[in-house]
Amino acid sequence: MTEFKVPELGENVESADVARVLVNVGDTIKKEQPVLELETDKATIEVPSSVAGVIREVKVKKGEKVQVGAVILTVDDSASGNGTAPASTAAAGAAAAKPADTRDKQTEEAPREAAPKEAAPQPAAAERPPDHKVLSMPQRPSGAGRGEAAEARQAPAPAEAAPPSPPQMRAERGPAAPASPSVRRLAREIGIDINQVQGSGAAGRISLDDVKEKARRVLSSVGSAAPSAAGAARARQLPDFQKWGDVDRQPWSSIRRSTSEHLSYAWNAIPHVTQFDKADVTVLEALRKAHKDRVEKAGGNLTVTAILVKVLATAVRQFPQFNASLDSERGEIVYKKYVNIGVAVDTDRGLLVPVIRDADRKNITEIAVEVNQLSARARDRKLTLDEMSGGGMSISNLGGIGGTYFTPIVNWPEVAILGVSRGATEPLWVPGPPAGPAGAFEPRLMLPLSLSYDHRVIDGADAIRFLRWVVEAIEQPFLLSLIG
């Protein structure tokens, strides 16, 4: 048999009027079930039971004034098999918290984390012996963080009811990430969860650089322009494609995954502009055919790509901002004094971009041989990371497959990329000599070119000048040897 008493109702509330009795003798009640409505001068409080069982006696009546600690009910709790000490999970003594004029019912439950189970049967007032089986509202947790300004206990509590709670905010969350306060602040300010950062220091200590690196990776992987959105930029929920028919799921290969991360980052970090033009490659194509065999003997393939690598290598020496990178952190543009040109290669595993080093110092035959070798290595999965890094500008030739124009994504940290589509014979208006006939349409082989660039580093006018230079060099290959 257990007695259920009027719990603590709030600061400075000693008694209350019984507004309603919600249960009768013989009722079987559950824990948390409201049994009584009490009216204080501050609010009406619904009092939930902290015991379960069959009510044997109801000791209060409507309209009565009851004191805190007075017995409300006696409950036979043997039936419910409730052998353990009942936990005090009564309603919050929130009465004091509510404005005097709100008489809305208080049905909120006590915050359970504030009343740990082991602290439960806690005497409401100091004079009660600790073994007295009294059920009351949870009081202030005892003993948290004694220190300079305050002592925490409201009423002395039994020893076992005093959970050790030193002044430590993270007790329930486990130890915080091993990072200094300034590093934690940086992470917070740029929207990185410090607990998600891998520390590079001893014992996993997280440095400022670790946070920056994490931010960079988050940016490139989620392709989110706003760093603060890092947490929110998780992939959206996909629909169930099976609903509309069978599907086949294939693993996202690591190459595709890293390509995706890289391109997402580049796409988000770089304000892209793409410029289009056409080059008359009729002469070049004739030359290409004429010298094809010679290059083939050297072990190369005299392709448009190989020639364009040489054109670009020469062009970036005239336009150094196309062979540059932006260091936004230091507020500097890095101009490279070497000329390495990347060549995008389509492989069965995805896109790879091997780099032709010092392309400006190689002749077209040498370049053609190297492109051949690197492409073969790319398709045989033999490219090393080293062979794919250090590019200054890249070229992506889709002409072998088709298409007219496209908008290639700049291969960060480069600032420009030249896209090449399929050449086609078109009628070109060729003006006649000044004194002769007006002119005529001539069939010319035209090559569509698409130049994407980082507008932070390169202005539109420069981009047109650059692309015109490239076009002219293609149309008059002599320029390459003249200037380059």
Binding site: G10, E11, A94, A96, A97, K98, P99, A100, P111, A114, A125, A126, E127, P129, M137, Q139, R140, S142, G143, A144, G145, R146, G147, E148, A149, A150, E151, A152, Q154, A155, P156, A157, P158, A159, A162, P163, P164, S165, P166, P167, Q168, M169, R170, A171, G174, P175, A176, P178, A179, S180, P181, R185, R188, E189, G199, A202, A203, G204, R205, I206
Partner: protein, 467 residues
């Protein structure tokens, strides 16, 4: 006073409130600071940390003078002039509070003395000596603090009954004093009165003094307190207090006694019954604390709460740290309150201090830790001042040796704990402490040597590492 409009109003001028006001002023905001006292300071400066530390300093000097007998230097028993002692303490308080007051003026913070009533989320009326005025604000920081908990059965309208406030007023040196509550306030004030000559008894309801601190640390302090106090009653409940002609008759769960004075120090409660609070959306939880988010913002978005009124632990240094968080939040920064450790210091003799995870807490939470202890009996500095009663301990993550908690008991522990807090905040490991050169001979070496104990390599303690 004329009506005033400011960007930030701070209600309550304790170490949380005035820190908030000053910082906001430093960030270029117009600030008003409202308090009932003549100067900023709050409980800490007027009725708490500061006056108690002044008295504890005197107690320590008396105690050392007595102890000097053991070194062959004998002083006469001290003659104590309570009025002059009280005046010294009051002088300390006045100096600090007027100092804070003048700093407020230098920063052009408008200090308003009076009792405030909120009249909505952006205004309050203030009843001061010079009449009523209205203060309008864009943001408000509630820093109203806390007050001693009153328990009806221990409340008696008698000058013989003291709480921490009146106890610090030092009305006299009673022949016998009962301290109800074995927390830090009771032990600190008990130490003062016992050293000044009172026979002090301490009664605590739980099984130990200073709940929350690790028992091995408390054990060191308790040993000394047993010599200082005439009795320490644990697991003992005060049933009743009644005034008689010759004192207060106190009925315990085990017998009764008469005391000249009784000091009740059973805790503090937040001052959250702020007049007019119901005109805002600010919420107060069941324990009486104003509910806030990690930025210390209440349910009313332009109102913040910091310090004792905003939650445990009720410590001045927590309040002033929260002050900066709240002000930065007002200034639009992404500041949040997320300390890895908040140190707690008990200024008894020896002092007892801890920060971060305690051993008991680790045990209760099922967190695997390794504990490294360095007893001060092996610390040369402790021996030179004849105070080998001390212990420094580190609570470490077993795999990495990361410092999760630090506990120190011993003379000057309150100063030593700061290094421990820094270690916890920086994510330092026992290795870091070990590899940091500490000056010799100082008590700070005990932190380094505790770390060496973790590796089984302490110079002054031979304790090979198991495993």
């Amino acid at each position: 006073m004329a009506d005033v409009s400011v960007q930030v109003a701070v209600l309550g001028a304790g170490p949380g409130g005035y820190a908030a006001a000053f910082y906001a002023a430093d960030l270029g905001m117009q600030v008003a600071l409202v308090d009932e006292e003549k100067n900023p300071g709050g409980v800490c400066l007027y009725r708490g940390c500061i006056p108690s530390k002044a008295l504890l300093h005197v107690a320590k000097v008396i105690d050392e003078a007595r102890h000097a007998n053991a070194w062959g230097v004998t002083f006469a028993e001290p003659a104590i002039d309570v009025d002059r002692l009280r005046a010294f303490k009051q002088g300390v308080v006045n100096k600090l509070t007027s100092g804070v007051g003048s700093v407020a003026r230098l920063r052009k913070v408008t200090f308003v003395q009076g009792r405030a009533t909120l009249t909505g989320p952006t205004s309050m009326s203030i009843a001061g000596a010079a009449g009523a005025s209205t203060l309008r604000f864009e943001h408000l920081i509630l820093a109203t603090g806390s007050q001693p908990t009153r328990i009806p059965s221990l409340t008696l309208d008698s000058p013989r009954m003291l709480d921490s406030t009146s106890g610090l007023e030092l009305p006299d040196i009673p022949k016998t004093l009962l301290v109800i509550g074995g927390g830090y306030i009771g032990l600190e004030l008990g130490t003062v009165y016992a050293t000044l000559g009172s026979k002090v008894s301490v009664v605590e309801m739980t099984s130990g003094l200073l709940p929350g601190a690790d028992r091995d640390l408390v054990g060191v302090l308790e040993k000394r307190l047993k010599g200082l106090f005439s009795q320490i009653m644990l697991n003992t409940r005060v049933e009743k207090v009644a005034e008689e002609k010759n004192g207060i008759r106190v009925t315990f769960s085990s017998g009764e006694s008469v005391f000249d004075r009784v000091l009740v120090a059973v805790g503090r409660r937040p001052n959250s019954t702020i007049p007019g609070l119901e005109t805002t959306r600010v919420k107060v939880d069941a324990k009486g604390f104003v509910e806030t988010d990690p930025q210390r913002r209440t349910a009313e978005p332009n109102i913040f709460a910091i310090g004792d009124v905003a939650g445990e632990p009720m410590l001045a240094h927590k309040a002033s740290h929260e002050a900066r968080v709240a002000v930065e939040a007002i200034a639009g920064h992404k500041a949040v309150f997320e300390p890895a450790a908040i140190p707690a210091v008990v200024f008894t003799d020896p002092e007892l201090a801890w920060a971060g995870l305690t051993e008991a807490q680790a045990e209760a939470g099922g967190i695997e830790v390794e504990v490294a202890k360095f007893p001060w009996g092996a610390a040369s500095r402790a021996i030179t001042v004849d105070r080998p009663d001390g212990l420094t301990k580190l609570v470490l993550e077993p795999k990495t040796g990361r410092v999760l908690g630090v506990g120190v008991v011993g003379s000057g522990a309150g100063e030593l704990i700061a290094e421990g807090v820094l270690a916890i905040e920086m994510g330092a490991t026992a290795d870091d402490l070990k590899l940091t050169i500490h000056p010799h001979p100082t008590l700070s070496e005990t932190l380094m040597e505790s770390a060496e104990v973790f590796f089984g390599q302490s110079t002054h303690v031979y304790k090979p590492r198991k495993k």
